[in-house]
């Protein structure tokens, strides 16, 4: 009868009915309203999802990172889906890459994760390993998710612990982007795919001497460069749940780049530090502070927007078969989503619908569907995009098998690499000390 009676209302309750309109009763009523209203509103807020099962009208929440250009393309593609499926509308949220995963984790913790979200290999295992992502295997097997036109290795790069945790939204691979204008103006040769690491450093030194612009960013803090290099040594970043390399490997890697710094082939440590940012606009090849930057091939068009100079792109030094068809990013579905079937259908649409794929272009990398990739390649007009497609298609002939998706703890491994490499760059540690420090920290991170 009085479940919401505040504890401060002290007198026996039974006597109240004698004074029906007393001030006390009025105040008590007010208190109940004040306390109950937010609860009721909260409950209403929680409840509004229940009505919409798959079949009825569905509002699907989608979350991705990227710039305005990507937002525009994605919104257009999703609008096209709504046009074809009027029952399905989207609640779209997007933001810059920095802070994206903080937000995604927070949304998940708050019990309010997006139905469909973009994720990359740095975090896929973290999410899949904690059963946050839906296993898309059954949809693949039933054909509701059509991956028949995907390169096999690209599809496999979305598998974590035997479960299909993410579907590649596009394909990319490591790319060494260089300032073509600078080289031509100074009569210097362009780098080529297949150059050895020593040759690359010697070339960079030559560039530095002639142009006064350091020839290459020092990528010793860059996990993707280390990764390619390790694979060329017959090692890997991870093997099962262990590290795929030793302290000696990393020492050799750090020494290689200490040599390059000593020869003046790279910029000063603080400039290297600037270039270590993941921000496209800070890459040294576009800020003019180095002749080459270590990026992903599909970032070419974005880089080009930030410089007047002509850019070129080749594979990282060494044997290009150490590179692989990497999913530049994936679409994943939240395991607890009420609209999983719809979400999977949207992934299928974004990857396999000719119109949608044409709209999206190569913004997230080369289209995963090979038939549509060929079509998009033919119709692309942006010269930088054209160039990146051409280079990646050539490299695709030489790709080796995909490594396993980075394991839980990878984000820490990445930041520890940066710390150790910068320690060596600023001269605060020898390559051997930095390598030791890095491997110790990695072991703790993935334990």
């Amino acid at each position: 009868m009085h479940p919401a009676t505040p504890p401060t209302a002290g007198a026996p309750a039974g006597r109240d009915h004698r004074t029906p309109l007393s001030r006390r009763r009025f105040v008590r009523g007010l208190a109940v309203v004040a306390l109950a209203a937010p609860l009721a509103l909260g409950a209403a807020g929680c409840g509004d999802d229940d009505a919409a099962g798959d079949g009825g009208p569905v509002k699907l929440s989608v979350f991705w990172w990227g710039g305005e250009a990507r937002a525009k393309l994605t919104e257009d593609a999703l609008a096209l889906y709504t046009k074809k499926h009027p029952d399905v509308t989207f609640e779209k949220t997007w933001q810059a890459n920095q802070g994206y995963f903080d937000k995604l984790a927070t949304l998940t913790a708050g019990g309010n994760p997006p139905d469909l979200f973009q994720i990359d290999d740095n975090y896929l295992a973290e999410y899949a390993g904690r059963s946050t992502t839906l296993d898309l295997g059954s949809y693949r097997d039933s054909g509701k998710l059509d991956v028949s036109k995907f390169p096999k290795s690209l599809l496999e790069y979305g598998v974590v612990d035997g479960k299909l945790a993410g579907v590649a939204a596009g394909e990319n691979t490591q790319g060494l982007v260089y300032n073509k204008t600078l080289l031509t103006r100074n009569g210097l040769p362009e780098p080529t795919t297949g150059m050895s690491w020593e040759e690359h450093i010697a070339w960079a030194e030559q560039v530095a001497k002639k142009t006064k612009v350091p020839g290459t960013q020092d990528p010793s803090a860059d996990y993707k460069a280390l990764w390619v290099w390790l694979r060329q040594q017959g090692k890997d970043l991870y093997q099962g749940k262990e590290l795929g390399f030793t302290v000696e490997d990393v020492t050799t890697w750090f020494e290689l780049w200490k040599g390059a710094r000593d020869r003046g082939a790279t910029p000063k440590p603080d400039v290297i530090h600037e270039g270590n940012s993941s921000d496209v606009t800070k890459q040294l090849v576009v800020t003019g502070k180095a002749a080459t930057s270590w990026v992903w091939v599909n970032q070419m068009p974005d880089l080009k927007k930030n410089t007047k100079d002509e850019l070129g792109v080749v594979a990282y030094p060494g044997d290009p078969s150490a590179q692989w068809a990497r999913a530049s990013m994936y679409w994943s579905v939240f395991k607890g989503s009420k609209h999983r079937d719809t979400a999977v259908d949207v992934i299928n649409f974004l990857n396999n619908d000719p119109e949608a794929v044409a709209l999206l272009g190569t913004d997230r990398g080369l289209p995963s569907n090979m038939d549509l990739r060929a079509k998009v390649s033919e119709t692309v007009t942006d010269p930088a995009m054209k160039q990146s497609i051409q280079v990646e298609s050539e490299l695709a002939q030489k790709f080796g098998p995909s490594p396993q998706v980075p394991i839980k703890g990878h984000s820490k491994v990445k930041s520890e690499l940066t710390k150790a490499a910068e320690n060596a760059q600023y001269g605060r540690a020898t390559p051997a000390q930095a390598a030791e420090q890095f491997v110790t920290a990695c072991k703790a991170a993935i334990a």
Binding site: R23, E126, E274
Partner: protein
């Protein structure tokens, strides 16, 4: 709960018999009390929901392996493991403690000194003093804003305004924010520059010092320095104490500028890895929220301890002029 406490707490309405007048008075009092709670309820709900409950939850989480992504119902109790790891197995934790202490020990005294110095200058009456008070207060208004931190980074990088200024004198500057030996100092300068808030409080304190004391001191032949030492400082000591406590707590909690300067990494080479930043990275980047919660609780206790030390030493140097002992 109301039913169990009610009979004991209101014996007047017991079986002795009806006492209408007193009961009515009691009712009115209760009604007023209740009304108080009603008007308090928005704040109370806010306090419980936004502060108290999450705080208690984080205390519990600090003994678990909570990783954000796993539902709360599935977290594992790990006892003191997080605390053990913090104190014995995580060198970067102690590094963060060192960075934070260095920051607070340098920035807080200098900030207070700057605030007091400028307050003394502005405590005179000359034309335009109001304008200057406003100008010096302005940086504080910007507070821990992201925009300000971005401006700061751009001012102190290799091609920044500060180095252009140095170049006028033929001095070649350093890449301050990108140099592990200088990045933290850059943050200290930013913190010190925002001395406006303590300055305004100092100004208010200075206005309270009775002019007679200065006059009496002058008559006794005291010079400016002597007057400052013997009159201003003691009279101002409660305000100094207040500012010291507040700014120390504030200094320990520095986050925004370090986050912006290092893109959220604490770099270069962990040189700006403030405690709160380390906590944030553990919780949100490394997805170790249980560990981050443990860190937060140690931090809370450390700040409480430091504040307690201030309060216990305060009686040796803080003089309250309205205390009973002055005749």
């Amino acid at each position: 709960m109301a039913l169990t406490t009610a009979p004991g707490r209101s014996p007047r309405t017991g079986p002795v018999g009806p006492r209408p007048t007193r009961r009515g008075a009691g009712r009115a009092r209760l009604g007023e009390g209740l009304a108080g709670y009603v008007f308090l309820s928005p704040w109370l709900i806010g306090l419980m929901g936004v502060t108290a409950i999450p705080m208690l939850l984080s205390l519990w989480l600090s003994f678990t392996d909570y990783d954000i992504l796993t539902p709360l119902s599935e977290v594992r109790w790990v006892g003191l493991a997080n605390y053990e790891r913090m104190f014995t197995a995580d060198p970067s934790y102690w590094h963060a403690v060192r960075v934070t202490l260095t920051f607070a020990l340098v920035a807080v005294p200098l900030k207070l000194a700057a605030a007091l110095g400028v307050a003394l200058l502005l405590n005179r009456t000359w034309r335009g003093v109001g304008l200057f008070r406003g100008l010096f207060y302005l940086p504080s208004l910007l507070g821990g804003s992201v925009a300000l931190a971005i401006v700061w980074v751009n001012m102190f990088n290799r091609d920044g305004a500060f180095n252009s200024f140095l170049a006028l004198f033929g001095v070649e500057g350093l890449p301050w924010v990108a140099d592990p030996d200088w990045a933290l100092q850059t943050l200290m300068v930013l913190a010190i520059w925002q001395f406006g808030a303590p300055m305004v409080i100092f100004l208010a304190g200075l206005k309270q010092v009775p002019v007679e004391l200065y006059e009496a001191a002058s008559v006794d032949g005291a010079g400016t320095w002597r007057k400052f030492r013997a009159v201003t400082l003691p009279m101002l000591s409660p305000v100094i104490f207040f500012n010291l406590v507040l700014e120390t707590i504030h200094g320990f909690q520095g986050f925004t500028a370090a986050f912006v300067l290092s893109n959220g990494t604490g770099g270069p080479v962990d040189s700006t890895l403030m405690y709160t930043l380390k906590l944030y990275i553990s919780g949100f980047t490394d997805l170790e929220m249980g560990y981050a919660s443990a860190m937060a609780w140690v931090f809370l206790l450390a700040i409480a301890l430091i504040t307690a030390v201030f309060f216990s030493t305060g009686r040796f140097w803080v003089h309250y002029s309205d205390g009973g002992d002055d005749s």
